[in-house]
């Protein structure tokens, strides 16, 4: 225990920046052609409908313009991104079988720790294929399916076919189309009716090869009355070439079911994180998002909740931390499409050192969705004067029987609060860090301990020597 503590205390940015030697056996050509798509599909030995779906998506991808309404993507050379890299390893079921180099990287990220602490199962994505996957036996016995997407496509083809990219279709936007064409890996979770998974399932993604894109697909189905907490962590080391992440997360929450989906995204500072996440919630179901965005060069990330069934509920808790060279355009969308649905949004952002944090939100209440309630709160903290912070919520109301409240605030750390903490013997930097940690506390308290610690460490790393 004591050992672990020291280990976490000593954590620094460089541990996220360790590069393994690039020894992949296969790399697709740069740029995208139908031939590449066919090659990917055949290597994976996919059913024909999936190949057709990929090719259709490729067409849509080629026909759609780059989105220009939010962030600058002009530096992103789509032809330059190798879309598929297969690590030189086979799927392993026990930790011992994972190659040393990869294991070492995970070890530095603290993953085996989590495993040792008997967490439900770890699915760690290393580049495009999941290299390590383990699920505790009692979960299997309850009928829970947790495996990587490629495997699920073969073993549970019918379920995958029913749900895959039905919530986020390739027509949605250019990067959803790209995802449809080249997706690879990711997690598949199926929780049968009435099953309460009382320990969180975890998955860790990591990009390793320079210039590699990551297009993992996460598909989670929580059946009637079932309950699940899924945790996804993302991290990538630093490279000179711009990397792209265009994953998709599709969450289906059935009647009376609950899903909590927690993510800490800490991509390297050259990453374009253009991720699409969406949940559809049926009658009296609940989706809870906990979302932390730290790394990446550019992020466009707006997890969306569609409250489709009467009494459905969504809760979004998010923190965005934009530092030097980062433009993080994040937020959330909520669509109240049924009566008596409720939503809560609690978003916080911090910008410093020239970072640009942009909150973009949508709250929509459809015509027949009466008796809905929504509370939105956005708070932005600016740590210096080189940074920028914008808030742009869009509230669209199409009926009157609703109760909507929205609040936003922007500002900096109060000098009086710093003085108060200092008067108790805490130095200025620590006082500021304490206030920042307090600011993000609503997020940290929602996370499992290891993630909360990681989050606090990230904040400490971010604040080190840059304020005061």
């Amino acid at each position: 225990m004591k050992n672990k503590k020291t280990y976490i205390k000593d954590i620094n940015r460089t541990i996220y920046d360790i590069k393994d030697k690039d020894n992949s056996i296969y790399k697709s050509q740069k740029g995208l052609t139908p031939e590449i798509i066919k090659e990917i599909s055949s290597k994976k030995n996919e059913p024909k409908w999936m190949l057709d779906f990929r090719l259709k998506s490729l067409n849509i991808y080629n026909s759609k313009p780059m989105p220009e309404w939010a962030v600058d993507l002009s530096d992103l050379d789509m032809d330059d991104i190798t879309t598929y890299i297969k690590p030189n390893t086979k799927q392993s079921h026990s930790w011992e079988d994972v190659p040393e180099e990869i294991k070492d990287t995970f070890e530095r990220l603290g993953l085996p720790e989590a495993e040792r602490k008997s967490l439900a199962g770890v699915g760690a994505q290393y580049d495009s294929e999941v290299v390590y996957h383990n699920i505790r036996k009692e979960l299997v016995d309850q009928g829970i399916i947790y495996m990587d997407m490629d495997k699920a496509l073969h073993e549970h083809e019918e379920i995958v076919k029913e749900y895959f990219m039905k919530l986020i279709t390739p027509d949605d936007h250019k990067f959803a189309a790209l995802h449809g064409a080249v997706w690879s890996g990711g997690s598949f979770v199926y929780v049968p009716k009435g099953v309460d998974v009382d320990i969180p399932l975890q998955s860790y993604f990591r990009l390793n090869a320079p210039g590699a894109g990551q297009f993992e697909h996460t598909l989670i189905i929580v059946e009637k009355g079932a309950k699940l907490h899924f945790i996804e962590g993302c991290s990538a080391p630093q490279y000179k070439v711009n990397n792209l992440h265009a994953g998709c997360v599709e969450l289906f929450i059935k009647e009376d079911a609950t899903l909590r989906y927690s993510t800490i995204e800490n991509w390297s500072r050259n990453m374009y994180n253009l991720n699409t996440k969406r949940a559809i919630v049926e009658k009296n179901g609940t989706i809870e998002w906990v979302s932390g965005s730290f790394g990446s060069k550019v992020s466009m990330l707006y997890p969306m909740s569609i409250l489709a069934g009467e009494g459905a509920r969504s809760e979004f808790t998010g923190i965005t931390f934009a530092s030097k060279g980062q433009h993080l355009d994040t937020g959330t969308k909520v669509v109240h499409a049924a009566p008596r649905t409720t939503s809560t949004v609690n978003s916080k952002s911090i910008s410093k050192n020239g970072g640009y944090a942009f909150y973009r939100g949508l709250l929509k209440v459809t015509k027949g969705a009466y008796d809905c309630k929504s509370t939105v709160s956005c708070e932005s903290l600016m740590l210096d004067n080189d940074s920028k912070s914008d808030t742009l919520p869009i509230i669209v109301l199409n009926n009157d029987n609703i109760d909507i409240g929205h609040e936003a605030k922007i500002g900096r750390i109060s000098d009086e609060a710093i003085f108060y903490l200092m008067s108790r013997g805490i130095d200025e930097q620590e006082a500021k860090a304490m206030i920042v940690r307090g600011f993000v506390e609503p997020i940290t308290k929602e996370l499992p301990l290891e993630y909360a610690i990681e989050l606090n460490n990230l904040i400490n790393i971010e604040l080190e020597g840059t304020i005061g």
């Binding site: 600016m382 914008d390 009157d400 609703i402 409240g405 609040e407 936003a408 605030k409 922007i410 500002g411």
Partner: protein, 353 residues
């Protein structure tokens, strides 16, 4: 052709503007001598500081339309240190013969002067009308400009109004906008808080009913240090009325120790009304305080019940609540006849509409 997606203006084309021949200015002759007050005849030769080029108002084409086709308006200059207590009143009444109004108003308050202007836009018959206006305000150091705009055009009239103010050090511009009429309204108010302790305030109310469409945008751009802005909007929507509110607080780098507050409160009184709110907060300066809040929904049921328990009907109770929400802003109009006309109008629409 112009189309606005959010409010549903489709394929709009400017009409060919006809002359506006009605008298619209009433101001005591004695006071008139002290200020320079002229009907606008030639925009290009206005002696006042030049019009902000970057200002696009409700749309570049609308500003351009005013500059080319204006048929009414005033050019008003208040000399240094002169404080005019009596308000200037402009009554723009649209009727069958004068159904196009394109007004350009230039208000230039010199150092430490003070002025109040009330502009009333009203249809006096049921003819289809068109209004497109541009009001340009320049408030020099220490001056105070109070401007109250009242819009009561009929439900066949299209209404576009662009307003701009530049506020210098310790000057105050208080803008009141009361939107009660029109078929469709596009309204923009943009204020630049240019210098130290510039102060800019926007209070507005709107009442939408029938098929009325309102697109209201208010922007406060903080440049000066210790500048202060306020946006406060209250509205009520009935029937199929549709409204878009855009409030922008923009803190530019250098506007340290500034403060901006933006509030919108909308009462939704019909299941078929539509309300969009986009309150933006833009910030590139850390040492500022900015906040916005939007609340939307029906009238609080327990409040309604309480009033009804004292013998009022539901409609009367709702009217009372809407009126009490509007009252502080209506009370800012310095003319009794206008206040009472507005109150009667609101009552008619809430009780008999």
């Amino acid at each position: 052709m112009t189309s606005w997606k959010r409010i549903g203006l489709k394929d709009f084309e400017f009409p060919k503007i006809v002359k506006y021949n009605k008298k619209y200015l009433s101001f005591e002759e004695g006071a008139k001598k002290e200020v320079s007050l002229n009907m606008v005849t030639d925009i290009t030769s206005l002696p006042s500081p030049k019009i902000e080029d970057n200002f696009t108002g409700v749309g570049t084409e609308f500003i351009l339309n005013v500059k080319k086709n204006y048929n009414a308006g005033i050019d008003l200059h208040i000399p240094k240190d002169l404080k005019i207590k009596e308000p200037i009143r402009l009554d723009f009444y649209l009727d069958e013969k004068n159904n196009h109004l394109v007004d350009f108003n230039n208000i230039y308050a010199k150092e430490n002067s003070e002025i109040t202007i009330v502009i009333d836009y009203k249809s006096i018959d049921n003819v289809e009308g068109f209004h497109n206006g541009f009001t340009n305000i320049f408030a020099e150091k220490g001056s105070v400009v109070n401007i109250i705009k009242l819009q009561r055009l009929n439900s066949k009239t299209l209404n576009f109004d662009s307003n701009f103010s530049r506020v210098e050090s310790e000057a105050k511009v208080n803008f009141v906008s009361i939107e009660l009429g029109s078929k469709l309204t596009g309204f923009n108010y943009t204020s630049i808080l240019e210098e130290e302790k510039s102060y800019s305030n926007l209070s507005s109310i709107y009442l939408g009913d029938k098929e009325m469409k309102l697109d209201l945008e208010y922007t406060m751009i903080h440049k000066g240090i210790r500048s202060q802005s306020n946006i406060e909007t209250r509205g009520a929507l009935l029937d199929n009325a549709r409204k878009v509110f855009r409030g922008n607080l923009d803190f530019k780098r250098g506007s340290r120790s500034s403060k901006g507050v933006e509030l919108e409160n909308v009462l939704l009184l019909s299941p078929t009304s539509k309300s969009d709110s986009i309150p933006a907060l833009l910030c590139e300066e850390d040492n500022v305080e900015g906040e916005h809040a939007v609340s939307a929904g029906q009238i609080d049921k327990s409040k309604l019940f309480y009033i009804m328990s004292r013998g009022l009907s539901e409609k009367e109770a709702k009217k009372l609540i809407v009126e009490s929400s509007f009252k502080p802003i209506i009370d800012k109009i310095p003319f009794e006849d206008l206040r009472s006309e507005i109150n009667i109008d609101i009552e008619r629409r809430l009780i008999h509409g």
